[in-house]
């Protein structure tokens, strides 16, 4: 892109001014050169001879040139018309183009400054935040109804059914034993995961005992069953009162 800039400033040389936009701007802004003194065909032939050696063709340069020439032609053609047939809107159009060019000049300078800033500023970019705060997970747990609990249990029961043949020993544990076991655990620990009560090698007997123990504890208002709102995990905590 630097190359294009350098080329385009050398594009046209008339008087002391170079570059299509700068030239045009100068004409419009300062009226130091009369538009009638410019032979547009000179400029075009200069450009065309340059194009011959230009390989491959620089489209950006070319389109800028065409635009500039057409503006020059436009202004020139307006200037050739008798003043009294100028319509207001045509003057407006001419002024608009002129203002656009003056403005462009300003922003071209601003762009230089910005470019400098971009190249020389020492900026380390901090990555965007993944987490703002580590939210306490507490708020994600909500109390579960007995119906939901039974549904969760029945899913486990179905799975255990298929593995029931593995274990043949006689169970001696009672519901009261299980209640004590859970209560004891919850006195020492904050919570217990529902799934951890039902280990892989649990027997159907123990499964039912465990579940009945949980139901009993809920009825006795000793525990609260919570389910994670997102992940559906179930945990049991001690009811404090």
């Amino acid at each position: 892109m630097e190359k294009v800039e350098a080329d385009s400033t050398k594009l046209v040389k008339i008087e002391n001014f170079e570059g299509p936009f700068d030239l045009l701007l100068f004409l419009v802004k300062n009226s130091k050169i009369n538009i009638e003194d410019i032979v547009i065909s000179d400029i075009t032939s200069q450009f065309l001879s340059k194009l011959k050696y230009e390989n491959p063709l620089d489209i950006e340069l070319y389109s800028n040139f065409v635009l500039t020439i057409s503006m020059l032609l436009y202004i020139k053609s307006r200037s050739l018309l008798p003043i009294d047939i100028h319509l207001d809107e045509e003057i407006d159009e001419r002024t608009r183009i002129a203002e656009g060019l003056i403005e462009y000049r300003v922003y071209k300078k601003a762009a230089e400054v910005l470019k400098n800033q971009f190249e020389n500023e020492k900026v380390l970019i901090r990555k965007d935040i993944q987490l703002r705060l580590d939210f306490k997970d507490d708020e994600n747990w909500e109390e579960m109804s007995i119906v939901e609990l039974i549904m969760a249990f029945s899913k486990i029961a179905k799975e255990v059914d298929t593995s029931i043949f593995k274990v043949l020993e006689i169970e001696k544990i009672s519901i009261d034993d299980k209640i004590d076991e859970i209560t004891d655990y919850l006195l020492k620990n904050e919570s217990i995961m529902f799934s951890s009560l039902f280990t892989d090698n649990i027997t159907k007997y123990e499964l039912i005992i465990t579940f009945l123990a949980i139901l009993e504890l809920v009825k006795m208002e000793k525990i609260i069953i919570l389910q994670h709102r997102l992940f559906g995990d179930i945990k049991i905590i001690r009811r404090r009162n």
Binding site: L124, I125, R126, K127, D128, I129, Q130, L131, R132, L133, D134, F135, K136, D137, E139, N140, A152, K155, I156, E159, M193, F194, S195, F198, D200, R229, L230, F231, G232, D233, I234
Partner: protein
């Protein structure tokens, strides 16, 4: 008591990464040895403590280090930063989100196969909330769109990274 250049570099990396950083990444960027990094982090934390900085370096269960705001400041900031309060998710949306979280990248059809209901409008809603995003297209007939969760999802649910999702096996038994 001042930070050394090593300490400064480590703290800068943690600041610029703005998320938990593993020891290997710290080694790679800083060019320091593991022991030097551990020493620096101890030093950083000691100094942050000393001046009562709101920041601290925590270590998560993957041994990643994270420069973050101390917990005691949450209560002063949560009104502004707890974006969860502004989002209401239906049960449908939560279930769909859970499936996407665990099985990403995943297509709409695949989600529907699991959930047994159409999820078009739920996906639209989750996209609008910025909890999921389009992550690409599956290279199969029809080039179906793939969905995944966003950083906002992690933030919203208080997860440090996707590795911190509870293992799906935990729920399989339920």
């Amino acid at each position: 008591m001042r930070l050394t250049l090593n300490d400064q570099i480590i703290e800068s990396i943690l600041f610029l990464e703005n998320k938990p950083v593993g020891i290997n990444k710290l080694k790679e960027i800083s060019g320091l040895k593991k022991e030097e990094i551990i020493k620096s982090i101890d030093n950083i934390n000691a100094i942050l403590d000393m001046v009562g900085s709101p920041l601290t370096v925590i270590k998560n269960d993957k041994n990643d280090f994270h420069l973050t705001v101390r917990e005691n400041l949450y209560e002063h900031l949560k009104d502004y930063y707890d974006s969860r309060k502004k989002i209401k998710l239906s049960q449908q949306a939560i279930e769909t989100l859970a499936i996407i979280a665990y099985k990403q990248p995943i297509t709409k059809i695949e989600i529907e196969a699991i959930r047994g209901v159409q999820v078009g409008h739920v996906i639209k809603q989750l996209l609008e909330y910025g909890l999921i995003k389009i992550t690409g297209k599956r290279n199969s007939p029809g080039k179906p769109i793939l969905y995944g969760t966003t950083d906002k999802f992690l933030k919203y649910f208080g997860l440090l990274s996707l590795k911190d999702l509870p293992p799906i096996e935990e729920f399989d038994r339920l």
